[in-house]
Amino acid sequence: MNFRKLTITLTSLAVGIVSSAGAMAADTELGVVVKIGGIPWFNAMEAGIAERAKELGVKAFMIGPTSADPALQVRAIEDLIARGVTAIGVVPNDAEALEPVLAKARSKGIKVITHESPDQKNIDWNFELASAKGFGEAHAKLLAEKCGGIGEYAVFVGSLTVPLHNAWADAAIAYLEKNYPGMKLVSERYGVAENVDDSRKTALDLMSAHPNLNGFLGFGSQGPIGAGRAIQERRKAGKIHVLGPLSPGQGMRLIKAGVISGGFMWNPKEAGRVFVTLADMVVQGKDVTAGMDIPGLGVVNPDFRTRNIIANQMVTINEDTVDELAAMGL
């Protein structure tokens, strides 16, 4: 049986070619595993990573799995460990599922940086460009300014079970209650802000039910858009103000029409840059200290127990900035 022989020889050959492990580089080499590849948000992050790596003269690249499955992130991190990088960055899909593989990476001396994962355990640092409180308050403050400090407002969230959206809403409502007693919340929050049509309908109903309503906070990407369309239909632009984190590309027209006042977001490109900056620092043994001024994060006040660095580096979305943000594909 010639074929069988050939097969056995070839297979054993394949198994046989095993060389010893290569030496680890002392230079910073960062691999960042993001939630999913090929979407504008992470394309912008990749651009930031490449840009900052060039500036610092280090090696850094991004891996974007083909689907937002935690299992794929684990595999990508395994490959990075095998590649022998000196630092791994992750934007986790599922913080828990990554703990074992991140522990493995750290046991091999690899530095681990995460983003948008404040409860992660096996890390050197996690960084956030906006705290939930700061993010909610920034929107609340802008809303109060637009409404002149007096009026009635409603709050949309993506869903009542999305922890982050509700934390934003909590912070915003608490801030307005404390600082602007003239602003009255008309009802409980609505879990419609991931759906344009639901947001639009709810906004129309609310406008009919509350004639004095003059503000909407939409925490969820479709909330501001839906509310904005409702206001446009009723020709109330300028009288009722809509704010919220939204996709600049999607909301550009409504912002320019003056229907949506704007909102805040954090810039994924900046997050990419911070990944490289932080990774380079920790790999070179220059650890983060309180009061340090880190490019992209500002003066930081790290939490050494939870290993969190929370900055408030928000980007304003309004008439002036929306073009540039939309041009980034966001």
Binding site: F3, L72, A97, E99, P100
Partner: protein, 329 residues
């Protein structure tokens, strides 16, 4: 089947193994030349750790495909089995749970898998509904039950020995890989040496002829889907120990890749033909491709295209080998 026909098919099958082996060697050499970090102990062990999850699910997919069907519920059945084990461990104290709790949990996990498979097999056998429809319904059911009972959250915190199953090694070989090798051998034996295996191939070739030749097709279908469900449970347990957590949706992206691995491993999409060995080779090839591209740090957008090129290359090589081996006959 005439003697020459059988010879032809045998040669064809050997062609598959040789063709896939050659392709594997080619890409291993290519990646080694492209990156000095490819053929290192670290990378080989990394690939060895990654292979089993996908491998076990592919084995779960293999038997239904051989019978001319499909089991689309494999990933969610694995999740549900994992959840059954996770809840049992939680009920017995989470990180403090003993080995007895683990064994009980595994029994429950296997029960979930077997039940899921049994129901698919039963419905397919008696209603003659298409397996795609039946297993798709089971997938939605499993996902729904899992999401309802876990609220889409992670279940985490297991005893150290459970984590050791996922992370540990015996004689330098990762435990998940040993489990996978054992399962592959069991599958090979079932398919090549038992009545059930023979019946499965016959079902895939011609279900009518199989029924008329006195094989109980209903019984065979129920058993083969139950086996598939049991293999999902193994995959679920291994994933739990690897991630130290379970959540509905872990590994959902593996579903299509298992089908791909089967077809790449020369399993006939319409059933009846295919073996375990080429499928295992196909799995190794897929692993080498993903790890190799990650090690190279190639552009993510390009690597998806490279995948496509590789897959087409395998088809062409297979065709070439087939032509070649028929000619020299």
């Amino acid at each position: 089947m005439t003697k020459t026909n059988r010879k032809k098919i045998k040669r064809y099958m050997e062609g598959e193994v040789a063709g896939l082996s050659i392709f594997l060697i080619v890409i291993v050499i290519a990646f080694s030349l492209a990156s000095p970090k490819f053929l290192t102990g670290a990378n080989l062990s990394s690939m060895a750790i990654q292979l089993p999850e996908l491998g076990l699910l592919t084995l779960a997919m293999l038997i239904p495909i051989l019978s001319g069907g499909l089991n689309l519920s494999i990933t969610y059945t694995a999740n549900m089995s994992g959840l059954a084990l996770a809840w049992t461990l939680q009920a017995f104290g989470g990180p403090e749970a003993g080995v007895e709790a683990f064994i009980l949990g595994c029994v429950l996990a296997f029960s979930v898998g077997a039940l899921s498979g049994f129901v698919i097999g039963f419905v397919v056998a008696y209603t003659k509904a298409h397996p795609i429809l039946v297993s798709l319904s089971m997938m939605i059911l499993m996902r729904g039950i899992g999401e309802f009972m876990s609220h889409g959250k992670d279940i985490t915190g297991f005893p150290q020995f459970v984590q050791n199953i996922g992370q540990g090694e015996i004689g330098g070989i990762p435990i998940p890989l040993l489990v996978f090798i054992a399962c592959a051998i069991v599958w090979h034996i079932i398919l090549s040496r038992t009545r059930q295996g023979f019946g499965t191939y016959m079902l895939g070739s011609n279900i009518m002829a199989t029924a008329y030749s006195g094989i109980s097709t209903k019984r065979n279908l129920i058993i083969l889907y139950t086996l598939s469900g049991l293999m999902c449970s193994v995959a679920g347990i291994i994933m739990l120990s690897r991630f130290n957590s379970v959540r509905v949706g872990h590994g959902e992206s593996f579903l299509l890749i298992t089908v791909l691995a089967c077809f790449l491993g020369a399993v006939n999409p319409f059933g009846g033909f295919g073996r375990v060995v080429p499928v295992v080779l196909a799995l190794i090839i897929l692993q080498v491709l993903t790890s190799g591209l990650n090690i190279l740090g190639s552009n993510q957008h390009l690597s998806t295209a490279l995948w496509g090129i590789f897959l087409i290359a395998v088809m062409v090589l297979r065709w070439a080998w087939w032509r070649f081996s028929i000619k020299i006959k």
